[in-house]
Structure formats: C-alpha cells, structure tokens
C-alpha cells in the first residue's frame, strides 16, 4: 500500500512536472512557431540548439546548468541576490525538467504549425484579421492537437526526468526527490519492493496524463 511518504513524493513530482510544463508552454509554442515560419540565416543553428537536450546525455546538460547556476557564477549569483535559489531546491528540479522537456514541445509545435495552410491565414487577413488575430483565430486552433500532443510528451518527459535533475537539484528526501530519483534511491539501498511500488505509481500517473490529454483533445474538437 502507498504510504504517506509516497504521497509526498507523488505531489512533489506532479508539482515539478506541472510547473515545468506550464512555464515551458508559451515560450515553447512561440519557438515552434518561429522555427516553422522563420526562413532566414541561422535557422539550422537555432534548431540544433533547441534540440540539443534531446541528443545530449541529461547529466551533461545537468552539469552545465549546475555550473551556470552556482552562486559563484555571475548568473547564479544574480539569481541568488534576487532570492531565486535554484541549486539543490525543487525549483532547480523544475528548471532541469524544463530544459529536458522543451525540445519535445518545440518540435511538436513546429510540425503542427507547419501543417497549417498559410493560405488560410491569408484568407483570414482579407476577412479583416490583423496578423495576431489571424494567429489566434486560425493558426492556433488548427495547430491545437499537435501542440497538445507536445504538451503531453513534455509533461511525461518532465515526470521521468532523472539525469539533469539529480545534478542540479540532488536527491533530497522531501525536497527534491521525485519519483524517478526515489526509484533509483530505493533500489540502491536494496529496497526493491518499495522501488516497484513507486514504479506502479509512476505508471498510473503516466496513464492519467495520457487520458487527460485524450479527453481535452476530444472536447471541442469538431467532426473531421
């Protein structure tokens, strides 16, 4: 049976993954739009940069983040001076999850935007829409399903983030130890039964996320 400690881990994990997904949503969708529309120089480099977390070992990303955020460095020092401690806090776990999950959202959003016929946007303009309104009334609704799929992928990725998180946030019980970290920890101390119980909970969470996405995707979707 799940224990009170398990509940704490689950809530922490959901909080980290949920906040990370929420924070990455708008910039991720905008980056996807940029990649879909921008045809100028530097496009390839930008695309590679945004996909980097997908191809690098998470621990590599983690150590770079850790170094940059260290209070000894200018960025980390500046953040600390403004009250934002990231290293070895749950916020650090959020940042690690954001970086690792963002490429999935960006790539899904880019594909979704590329599939919207630009001529429909032109028609919306002739019907009186400014570029922003045309985006909100035509492009975004038509790309909605692809973006939603990207959100689910990003959330799932954040839910299971391990490598970068353990580098930036450590594995502090009750503070930064998410499900993925806890499973590893239990296994390390030989408590495989506990580890498997946590695996079961993780599976339930992942299915839950998929179901919610499916439900949201159907709601408001018209006949095809």
């Amino acid at each position: 049976m799940p224990t009170g400690e398990d509940l704490g881990i689950v809530l922490l994990t959901l909080r980290v993954a949920g906040v990370a997904t929420a924070l990455v949503l708008v910039p991720g969708v905008l980056a996807g739009l940029g990649l879909a529309r921008y045809r100028g120089p530097g496009r390839g480099a930008l695309e590679t940069l945004l996909s980097l977390p997908l191809v690098l070992p998470p621990t590599a990303i983690g150590i770079v983040l850790l170094e940059a955020l260290s209070p000894r460095r200018s960025l980390g020092g500046w953040l600390a001076a403004h009250g934002l401690e990231l290293v070895f806090t749950w916020r650090g776990a959020v940042l690690a999850a954001m970086v690792m999950a963002s490429p999935l959202l960006v790539r899904s959003a880019r594909t979704a935007f590329e599939e919207v016929d630009p001529r429909l946007v032109g028609i919306a303009r002739t019907l009186g829409c400014s570029p922003v309104r045309a985006f909100l009334r035509v492009t975004l609704p038509l790309a909605r399903r692809g973006i939603l799929a990207g959100v689910v992928l990003a959330f799932s990725r954040a839910l299971g983030e391990f490598g970068a998180t353990i580098m930036v946030a450590g594995s502090i019980p009750g503070r930064t130890r998410t499900l993925a970290l806890a499973i590893f920890q239990e296994h390390q101390v030989g408590a495989d039964a506990e580890a498997f119980r946590l695996v079961g909970i993780t599976v339930l969470l992942a299915f839950g996320a998929l179901w919610v996405a499916e439900w949201v995707g159907r709601r408001g979707t018209h006949t095809r």
């Binding site: 016929d117 001529r119 429909l120 303009r125 002739t126 019907l127 829409c129 400014s130 035509v138």
Partner: protein, 354 residues
C-alpha cells in the same frame, strides 16, 4: 473605377498589369500561368512583393510612390480563391460570420439566396464542392467588400449548380454593385457575367475588350457549338392555373410569363434560362404576337461569331442584359447595329425554370 498598375515577380515571368476598369464586372481570362490568380492575390494584398499602385473608387490601397500599402485586413477586398479555402475548424455559420460587417438583414438575405440556411451547422469537411464555393462567396460578401475578387467560382460545379450560383452572381451585380474581377476559362460565363474581359498573357494585359469581341475572334466551329444561354434571376409572383402560366418578376425589373411551374412557391427565387437563339428580334413594337414576353431593349453590342451574329441587348425596363443570336442575313435586313431600339420576344415554352 479601379486603377491598376501593379508589378510582381513570378516564378517564370513578371506580372506587370496596367488597366483602368470602370465599375461593374470584369472577366480575367488567359492561359494557365498568365498570372490571373497572382493578380487577384496581389490586389487582395497577399503578395508582399507587389509594387505599384492600386486605387478602388478613389480609395488608395497601394501606392509605392507615396509609401501607401494597406495590409489585407484594411483593404476591404473580398477574395474567393478557387478551392474556397474554408476554415476547417469552424462551422459554416462561423465561416460566414468570420469577418462579417454587412448588416444582419443583408447577411440573412444572402444566406437565403445562396441556399445556405440548412448547412449552417455543418462543417466544411462534409460539404460538396458547390456548397463550399457558395459558403466562400457568402463569407467574402458578409464583409461588405468594396471590391470582389473571384477565382473561377463556377469551376468544379455541375451544370445544375452553375445555373444556381451564376444568377446569384448576376443578382449581386445588379443589387450590390460591388466592382468584381472574375477569373474564368469559360467565354460563355464571361459573356453572361462581365462587361469587359481583361486578357492576360505572360503576366501582361494582352487585350481589354468587350466579351463579344472574343466570341467574334473564336474559331467558327467553337462558337457554333457553344450554347449561349441567358440566365435571368427573378421571383415567382403568381401561378395562373387556368391560363397554364406562372408569372415571374425579374430581379432587374419587368415580368416574364412561363409555363405553369407550381413546384416553385410564390415568392421563391428562380432562374429563367433562355437560349440566345430562342429570342426573336423586331425593330418595331410587335402586336398580335403569340409570344407572351416582349421587352423593349437597346442593342449594346454586336459581334459576328462563326456563322451567326450575337447581340447583347440591354432591357429598357430594369438592368438586365439579354444575349440574342441571329443570322447575318437577319441582321442585315433589319439594319441592326449598336444603338438601335429593338423589341425582344420570347415564347413561354422557350423558358426553362430552375
């Protein structure tokens, strides 16, 4: 009046169109790749590389020299692309009302005439080609445009639908008087719908002529085979069962008597189809004639086409024009030429009601 002086680089050539078009409808014709669709898109403001000048009834939409370039949303130009381009995530109603600014009553009237009332809750994916075209037309008209650009609105429609949409376009012209550019490959459509034809070739204006002039230039075999038909929009006034006739009030004014057609309820919109060769011409007011429908008209245009002569006659009462096909001998005997007064007689049984 529309003043066009536009240039736009295309893939194979450069669009360079200069034309001054009076109000009314202009057909744009020419071979594929001549730049017809590009011209419409440039006028709608959808081609950022367009240079030059575009003025519609005194409103400057584009003037490179003065740094004026209205974005598409401020041009108030209704554009109906060839494949309709309806918004797939919206219902027919939401599509039509997407940019609506015409008064509510006018939009409702338009939906009725285009027979879209029953389709309003449907989605574009479930519509036929003709239905999509009508929705796209309604969507553009609902914005109350000052210029209408139609890219082959009747292409891909079957004959019955063509006969239903075509008179609507005519009615539009008569009632709303929106200047219209109308891309078509069908000379027959151009003759019925447009006052003039802009012929494009390789991005340039090859000719700007009355439609009948193109008919005259056609190969004789082609024009002999062409069915020239008049499409006259109107509404059923009464049924006279004893007399065996139905009386129809023409939209442009005047009345037409046709064989009893009870399937069309009084008040309903109908289209009268009359072949050009079924119209008789007299140079004096006829009397004692069995033909029920006699209209005074003026000959506006006259062109030799193949073995025949085609006349375009404007009815004195109302705003409709009627095409008439005669033999050259008849034209010579009656001394028919542009400007003369004639009387057109149409037998009731020559009129088809749709």
């Amino acid at each position: 009046m529309i003043e066009i002086a536009l240039t736009l680089p295309l893939a194979a050539t450069t669009l360079a169109v200069e034309a001054t078009l009076p109000d009314g409808a202009t057909a744009v014709m020419g071979p594929s790749g001549a730049g017809k669709t590009s011209l419409l898109e440039a006028m709608a403001g959808l081609r950022p590389r367009t240079r030059g000048r575009l003025v519609v009834n005194g409103e400057v939409l584009l003037d490179g020299a003065r740094g004026v370039r209205l974005p598409p949303e401020r041009r108030r130009v209704g554009y109906v692309p060839q494949d309709a381009q309806l918004f797939p995530h919206l219902s027919v109603r939401q599509n039509v009302l997407f940019g609506a600014r015409a008064p509510r009553g006018r939009v409702d009237g338009m939906l009725e005439v285009l027979e879209l009332g029953r389709l309003l809750e449907r989605h574009p994916g479930t519509l036929s080609g003709g239905e999509r075209q009508r929705v796209a037309l309604a969507r553009a008209l609902a914005t109350d445009p000052r210029l209408l650009l139609l890219d082959e609105p009747l292409a891909g429609l079957d004959v019955a639908l063509r006969e239903r949409v075509l008179p609507y376009l005519l009615r539009l012209r008569a009632e709303w008087n929106v200047p219209t550019l109308y891309v078509t490959h069908q000379l027959g459509e151009a003759i019925v719908l447009a006052e003039r034809v802009l012929v494009l070739a390789a991005g340039r204006v090859a000719r700007q002529v009355p439609p009948l002039a193109l008919l005259a230039a056609e190969a004789p075999e082609a024009s002999a085979e062409r069915d020239l038909e008049n499409f006259l929009p109107g509404r059923v006034r009464t049924h006279d069962a004893a007399g065996g006739v139905t009386r129809v009030t023409l939209d442009g004014g005047g009345e037409m008597t046709v064989p009893l057609a009870r399937e069309h309820a009084p008040g309903s919109a109908v289209t009268l189809v009359v072949r050009a060769e079924d119209v008789l011409v007299a140079v004096e007011a006829p009397h004692g004639l069995s033909a029920r429908n006699v209209f005074a008209a003026g000959v506006a245009d006259c062109a030799r086409a193949g073995a025949d002569v085609t006349l375009r006659c404007n009815l004195v009462e109302g705003s409709l024009a009627v095409l008439v096909r005669l033999t050259p001998a008849a034209v010579a005997t009656l001394e028919i030429r542009p400007g003369v007064r004639v009387w057109l007689a149409i037998k009731s049984h020559s009129v088809r009601l749709t």
